[in-house]
């Protein structure tokens, strides 16, 4: 028999593949999120025009677009299970922690796909290529992990309330704000040519902290 760890890894991997396949078949989650962020982007770009030399505005706008895309899409992974009445089946085949980790990975992949489309578009429309791609990408990636980690846990909570999706933005915002603050500050520093060590450390420790505490809490997620 495989050991517990490889067993759990198999479950997480199976859930991730199931999520991707379901999403690929229906595509409305990804389509809605892509349309949403492209619309926001166009509106923002149209309203402020090209401003390659305003790094403070640029970094704030970029992360507001990403934050809103996350708020609009991260709760989806769990809400879909509850609304389709498939949560019982899922809970019978995997432990709460395996389910939550599978969903976390899926949300991460989801956000990355979103960013592959959104971020280049943003940089082009604003006419501001980042001076240091390494610094820019590391802040972007760590920020994404932070958003996905906090969003996944709150999404699992929200899916069990009466209002489901409607409450997600309000309840997850306090947990996403540290990510927003550090990521905006890091992105701005990167454009301005300053050091980003402090922001990278903060993003990494926040993401790690949220994931570590989540691992202790996942077991309590579903009991009915």
């Amino acid at each position: 028999m495989p050991g517990d760890a490889s067993r759990s890894a198999a479950a997480v991997w199976a859930i991730l593949r199931k999520e991707c396949r379901s999403e690929w078949r229906t595509r409305w989650g990804l389509n809605a999120a892509l349309l949403f962020s492209v619309t926001t982007l166009t509106a923002v770009s149209f309203a402020v025009g090209r401003m390659p030399d305003r790094s403070d505005v640029l970094s704030a706008l970029l992360w507001i677009v990403l934050l809103f895309a996350s708020l609009a899409s991260l709760a989806h992974a769990f809400v879909r299970e509850v609304e389709g009445h498939t949560l019982s089946v899922l809970r019978l085949v995997a432990s709460p922690t395996e389910i939550a980790l599978g969903k976390l990975l899926f949300n991460l992949v989801f956000l990355l796909v979103l960013e592959i489309v959104t971020v280049p578009l943003f940089l082009t429309l604003m006419g501001a290529p980042p001076p240091r791609w390494g610094a820019f990408t590391s802040v972007l990636l760590l920020g994404t992990v932070g958003l996905a980690a906090a969003g996944t846990l709150i999404g699992a909570l929200i899916a069990q309330t009466r209002s489901r999706g409607a409450l997600f933005a309000a309840v997850s915002l306090p947990l996403l704000l540290p990510v927003l603050a550090a990521a905006v500050s890091g992105t701005r520093a990167q454009w301005a040519g300053g050091a980003i060590d402090a922001q990278v450390r903060m993003l990494a420790s926040y993401a790690l902290g949220v994931i570590a505490v989540s691992l202790m809490l996942y077991d309590h997620l579903w009991e009915e």
Partner: protein
């Protein structure tokens, strides 16, 4: 953790409910109950609508944390902890739905892979054949009739050859041929494990060697 793959023939199983009760808020869903099941066989849980048959099965399956008491499940003399429970039981209940955008086969494949079962493809094929759903394996779940979905639930429950099979209203929506298939599944499983049926249908509880009547008030008392 060899529970799921243990050969059924040697499964010594015992299920013990000790002052088990459940309530949702102030509404009693399951009146206090004590019972013990041991060895192979078929047992039926009966009682009026709202007496807590489904609630009892969900507690035993580990999906619901009871408000009072506990339901202990032991296989080979070893008590399964909360995390192992889902490996030792197979549940088919009417409120369970499958992923509509995936096919019947993909749904079961997913269940087998998430449980890290060996030989997933063969297990899926056998389970489908036992409930008579082989011909519809490649259809999307969204296209299944309610009777077909009920067969899929039973296939899902027996997929990992659990020592304890929990069937909630197993004959619901089924035609005669479907009922015959489910009765065969129950009879075969009773040779090597235990089947717990929740039903008020006489055709079904007649299959059982023992009945556990629930005393719940059902619809008799609106509170």
């Amino acid at each position: 953790m060899s529970v799921a793959a243990a050969p059924l023939a040697v499964c010594a199983l015992s299920l013990e409910a000790r002052s088990l009760a459940h309530r949702y808020g102030s509404r009693r869903a399951l009146e206090r109950i004590d019972f013990t099941l041991e060895g192979n066989g078929v047992t039926a849980v009966t009682g009026p609508n709202g007496s807590g048959k489904s609630t009892l099965l969900r507690i035993i399956a580990g999906l619901l944390r009871p408000s009072e008491g506990e339901a202990r499940l032991a296989v080979h003399g070893r008590t399964l902890c909360a995390g192992e429970r889902r490996l030792g039981v197979g549940l088919a209940a009417p409120e369970m739905a499958f992923y509509e955008e995936l096919s019947v086969e993909e749904n079961l494949r997913f269940a087998a892979e998430a449980r890290a079962l060996s030989g997933a493809a063969a297990r899926v094929a056998t389970a489908l054949q036992r409930v008579g759903l082989t011909a519809r394996a490649d259809d999307r779940v969204a296209a299944l009739s309610s009777g077909m979905q009920q067969r899929l639930r039973v296939a899902f429950a027996i997929l990992h050859a659990p020592p304890l099979l929990l069937l909630d209203e197993p004959g619901g929506h089924l035609d005669d041929e479907g009922r015959a298939a489910i009765e065969r599944v129950i009879a075969e499983h009773a040779q090597s494990g235990h089947v717990l049926l929740a039903t008020n249908d006489e055709r079904e509880w007649r299959l059982a060697g023992r009945r556990i009547p629930l005393r719940g008030r059902g619809l008799g008392d609106p509170s």
